[in-house]
């Protein structure tokens, strides 16, 4: 089990396209990955779950991965979030 807090930095937050990218990134790993924001915890591989979080810029999400590639999975998602989902702002 590996947990990490990540701050959302892109302008539009976890909007639809960003959420899709996050889900695609998460789906590449075998670990079970959860994303928590406030009291809401959802599966990182579920697009609807991620969209439900409606995490805007500045909010902090907590990633929890459990499995053989948990560290890689969290690192990959962190990279994506830190790179602002490769969006042009």
């Amino acid at each position: 089990m590996f947990t990490k807090d990540i701050e959302i930095k892109n302008k539009l937050g976890l909007h639809a396209r960003a959420a899709a990218k996050l889900v695609h990134a998460a789906a590449k790993y075998r670990s079970s990955i959860k994303v928590r924001k406030g009291s809401e915890e959802v599966d990182a591989k579920s697009i609807l779950g991620i969209l439900l979080l409606a995490a805007g810029r500045g909010s902090v999400i907590t990633l929890t991965a459990d499995g053989e590639d948990e560290m890689d999975a969290v690192a990959a998602i962190q990279n994506l979030v830190d790179a602002k989902f490769d969006e042009v702002e």
């Binding site: 937050g13 909007h15 639809a16 590449k28």
Partner: protein, 362 residues
Amino acid sequence: MTQSIEDFIQTPVQTLISPELDDLQLKLITGSDGLDRVIRRPRVQKPGLAFAGYYEYIKQWRVQIIGESETKYLQSLPPRLREKRVRDVTGLDVSCFIVTKGITPLDDLRVECEKRSVPLFSTTAMSSHTINRVSNFLEESMAPRLTLHSGLLDVYGIGVLLLGDSGIGKSECALDLVYRGHRLIADDMVIVRRHPNDVLLGYSSDLLRHHMELRGIGIINIKDLFGVASTRDMKPIDLVVKLEKWVDGTEYDRLGISGETYECLGVSKPYVRLPVASGRNLALLVEIAARNYLMKLQGYHSAEEFVRRQAEQVARQTRIEETAARRAMPPLNAEAQLSSELRSQLSRHLFSGEPGEQKRKP
């Protein structure tokens, strides 16, 4: 995408002698040796300007329609000039002539056509009607086409082309759709013909029409098994669905806003890729894709609508959180800042004896 005229399939003049043009009652007056002359464009011409001496007007390899006005004009010319013009125009790259309104072709024209083996037809129909019928007929028979290894169904009135590798279950999916009351146009081999206005018309070859091959059962006739309403002969393609083997790690559209298109004969159509895995009911998924497309046609895009509402939610939530933060956080923040500042000052004070540092202290 605009239609480029260049890729029309050229056809011999012979094509015009077709039961589809029976209503024109085309009569071949002369030039039967020239029935293999080609027609390159479906649009016809009236060679009036050419008879007046402007030969550049004649575009190569088209059907020339001679009506009353052309005939009257030629008759008004002095015989030697008339003969020259007719000879010159007949010598150009024309496919054939059709004289309309039941007019007897001028002798000059008949003689030249015979000499040069240019087919000369006559019809009792009016010029306008002849032009319409001939150009429509040619547009259809010369339209660019290709054969796709696929299935074509009418699902709720939407023409759905089913693509996918051999053995992925296209026929089974098509059968399931027919079982649900949708209509089969073709299975396995779909002939696609491009029409004006980006229409891709799909139909089956005569032999295979309404038939399907199911592994383990063999060839079945859908019309016999399911009745007359289970099939139709042709249908324009509206939506392309590709059945794909499910591969872990392949990215599929999760939102439905990617707007992928499939290009065929230079025309793009909406494209949906469906990964196939056990437990997925393909016919149901195709049916849903068609329903979703139907909604888009009526101006409602489910996925975009959802995305818009979610973006609003993100913005709203961000505002709430920021407001809360502004109310709640300042003291905390200030405290944290103060404490960190204090800590650094303290450390500087403790570990360095620089005079500058000393001065700043109260």
